[in-house]
Symmetry: C2
Subunit: 335 residues, 2 copies
């Protein structure tokens, strides 16, 4: 199945670049409410599924044991920009489990956000593991291991008990079989599994609504989603799409991006979850698609829809501030 | 016409993202030697055509008047990283015409190269117009205007005599009609015109071989191409694709990238020029395509082909240096 061109980038009167994509909206029972492109195609969720990967942190009792509130839980689901408050939060979570950054196995990198990188360059010699965009998730992993007495060392390995547990959680939520066959290694070295896009969306619909989940998992799931919506800065950072989306309509939108053009969202009032993937892996297109897709489920002409559509169809300005073209979603997305 | 998937990005055993593209190789007479995708499609060359835009600098006599050598001429064709030597070169060129950065109308921005940006953050408060990736081209524009007595102010405008001259040059080289209808505004505020990809490649084949050009234009064209090959650092910067390509086989490869997934190359020994465009505008795919396309014209199994294919099909490593997947060109590119 051919995925449609869902996002166009124009310059002057012409289309300069085109992005193809797939997307799906489902309810808690797994019914497809809307889709475009090959919604059953297998895709790597990458960081979009971090809230699923954070469930053991709560279900093990670690989060309560260490007194984690919304900020810590949101940060456990984060792909953050490595701003000072992010780095401090990672260190703080590790300290509560009696560990420090030497326990982290995510590697280190400079921020990919320009403003955050400039600040880092001026204040540190080199980034360490606390600056890694995944340090929140990994700090949560370390805390879960310490609390349950599982060896921390090697926690990123496919056969480590924590990764086995995450695999079980994700199989249960997405309905996909996860094994070495559909496994890749993520940027932060943990396993990532290709799942059908619809399964990813359904997993988030289950987390949102609790449908088909045990009472304890339903509660833990909703606690993570609510924590992210309550502390959007800790999920991404200043000016980032996830943060902006969740700040735009507090409590009404949960959203999380993933590398290579993935974005998921969940809408508590509507009881729906959705996922998009840009075929070519480009963030600008994934963002435009999820903005437009979320907008579909808010009141026509209302403030939220208007803001979302303005983000989905936005002007591009050049270095002199001149409007040179637009990023816009196509009718094919909603045909 | 559907453009084929030319570049795949894998993770584990699976393809995670796919890029479509078009490309064409032509000789000086405009004969298509090889193509894939819709090679007649109109595309914005963006910065890939800077060597064409630099022709008035030589043809006006300005370059000789100011004593410009290979470094200055290469820099006039550059999309540079804003490294210290680039900034110094822009200031030096402007000074030869009695001007300074206040004459530049390109705007300013931080480097898009991570290492260069970190250095900038540590050494300057804010970037100025000299740091703009296009400051070499714009310094050349200013020099051409000053030398010929044309007003400098407004030199980026569609109706300014310099932009009219560039429009004539580009029409003549590409064979395309350039007008307000296919005009957009580039990142640095000058007009950019959509032309058929094949026309862009043919223009570079003419510049390389001199076929169909006046003797003076043929000489000026080859001087620019040779200058870029002689001073590849000034065309882009440390670690950048254009620089690496031209350093890889000195005097045998001219190469220049453009925004939104464009890349052109010219091969003096073969008398061929080529152009590629990634449909979705992604640089990693444009680079893989041009590397593989150039490789096609060097000895099978030889050092140059081997190096080029290793760049076209490369491993991606994560933050821990683990091999997680590959960027690779597909058979469809050469089917």
């Amino acid at each position: 199945m051919q995925n449609p061109v869902t996002v166009e980038v124009t310059r002057g009167k012409l289309v300069e670049s085109r992005h193809r994509g797939l997307g799906v909206v489902v309810d808690g029972a797994g019914r497809t409410v809307f889709s475009f492109g090959d919604a059953e195609a297998g895709i790597f969720p990458r960081s979009s599924c971090k809230a699923m990967q954070a469930l053991p942190l709560i279900e093990s009792g670690a989060a309560d044991s260490y007194g984690f509130g919304n900020a810590e839980l949101a940060f456990s689901c984060a792909s953050h920009s490595g701003e000072d408050r992010h780095v401090e939060m990672a260190a703080s979570m590790l300290a509560k489990a009696g560990r420090d950054m030497s326990a982290l196995e995510c590697g280190s990198h400079w921020s990919s956000d320009q403003a955050a990188l400039i600040h880092q360059a001026r204040t540190i010699d080199q980034p360490n593991a606390l600056h890694n965009n995944c340090s929140g998730k990994h700090s949560g992993f370390v805390c879960a291991c310490v609390h349950s007495g599982t060896p921390v060392e090697g926690y990123v390995g496919y056969d480590h008990p924590l990764q086995r547990e995450i695999r079980d959680v994700m199989q249960s939520l997405t309905g996909a079989v996860l094994s070495a066959d559909n496994c890749g290694t993520d940027g932060c070295s943990i396993p990532t599994y290709a799942v059908p896009l619809k399964g990813l969306a359904h997993g988030f619909a289950k987390m949102l609504t609790g449908e088909g989940l045990s009472a304890s998992r339903a509660k833990a799931s909703r606690r993570l989603i609510d924590a992210c919506m309550a502390e959007p800065f800790y999920v991404a950072g200043t000016g980032r799409a996830c943060t902006k989306l969740m700040e735009l309509a507090p409590g009404k939108i949960f959203a999380k991006t993933g590398a290579e053009g993935v974005f998921v969202a969940a809408l508590p009032e509507q009881g729906l979850a959705m996922a998009v993937k840009c075929e070519d892996g480009t963030t600008r297109a994934a963002e435009a698609m999820i903005f437009a897709l979320i907008a579909r489920y808010f009141e026509k002409g209302g403030e939220i829809e208007t803001k979302l559509l303005a983000m989905a169809n936005r002007q591009m300005k050049n270095w002199n501030g001149v409007h040179v073209g637009d990023v816009r979603v196509t009718d094919a997305m909603f045909a």
